[in-house]
Symmetry: C2
Subunit: 204 residues, 2 copies
């Protein structure tokens, strides 16, 4: 029956997402190699062997996490760019949203750290490395374009747009690391500390 086939497909997808969601925090806190398939299975509440009905291997899970993370991040970055706001407003919104998300959703920090470490690891599936190389520049370029546009408008201070984008994103990544080190005790700093890089006249 077509009906139950569709339902089955949906249930399968949900189960796969549950596995991915459990795997993210394990991969982020232990790394790919130190995370046992048995750990993931037990975190999601299934037998170790069953996991192989949903994914072909531990590495496939890892690749799928990386793929989805870039899908979401880069979509969000492109949508921000298209909003009817001034460059300055877009930068401020990005900083505010990112720091709030970081504080409220630990998942965001896990994924950020997972990608950060995967970016420099050579013990990661080749397909993950390929996705990272292909996608990682998108958010940097968006912020750099905003910085350039803001400087043309005279709204921003100097500094090379690429430098500003670099420091902007590396600070976010660094805060994600810190957020995981501190756990629930973490509080994001005032976003103006970040935007002040772009607008030195900003008062705190």
């Amino acid at each position: 029956m077509a009906r139950s086939a569709v339902q089955n497909e949906q249930m399968r997808d949900e189960r796969r997402q549950a596995i991915l969601s459990s795997a993210v925090r394990l991969f982020a806190t232990r790394g790919l190699a130190a995370t046992k398939v048995a750990d993931i299975a037990s975190a999601v509440g299934m037998a170790q062997g069953l996991l192989y009905h949903y994914f072909r291997s531990k590495e496939e899970i890892f690749v799928e996490i990386v793929r989805q993370a870039f899908d979401r991040m880069n979509t969000a970055a492109r949508e921000l760019e298209r909003l009817p706001l001034t460059p300055r407003q877009k930068i401020e919104r990005a900083a505010t949203t990112l720091l709030r998300t970081l504080e409220e959703h630990e998942d965001f920090a896990w994924i950020s750290v997972l990608i950060s470490t995967a970016s420099i690891s050579d013990a990661v599936p080749a397909e993950a490395t390929a996705i990272i190389r292909r996608e990682r520049d998108v958010p940097y370029r968006v912020v750099a374009r905003l910085a350039r546009a803001g400087q043309r408008d005279g709204a921003f201070e100097g500094g090379r747009p690429d430098d500003l984008a670099l420091v902007f994103w590396t600070t976010v990544k660094g805060l994600a690391l810190h957020r995981l080190a501190l756990g629930a005790a973490y509080k994001s700093p005032d976003p103006r500390i970040l935007t002040r890089m772009f607008f030195p006249e900003t008062r705190a």
Copy 2:
């Protein structure tokens, strides 16, 4: 003979340092679990079994790296604090030195990333975790004290000293990640982008 005993001790130390030095970059790029003892041994040019004459286990190597890293970093931070400079000069020197070291010495980035990831990992030797918990706040507190002193002098802008210290160090950590992702192509941004968080009037 006492003479050759001393020499032997020294040679042993040098050999141990060579092992640590090779292990750092492997641990940083692959993580503890994915780094094989055979990899370390071959990087330093010795047989796998011989490595156990210098260290009792792979984990002991890891702990020793963490211990030495904090020794150096925290010593440097405390020495900076004691220099006969104004708070502002100390912040500027720290930013300049860190960004230059990051660019010139890849080792510094390796160690930074190793510590960052170890800080949030629960797949790391308990002794390493203990050292990290005990030592990690030192550099943050030094910068926070400098920020507080600068604000008293009226040299710095507002912002909570703890926030400033947090963003300062997380940016450095974030840049270390970036430096490894980019390899030799990496160029540190202008240090004024960093110090501008403390002194908003700084022009680029």
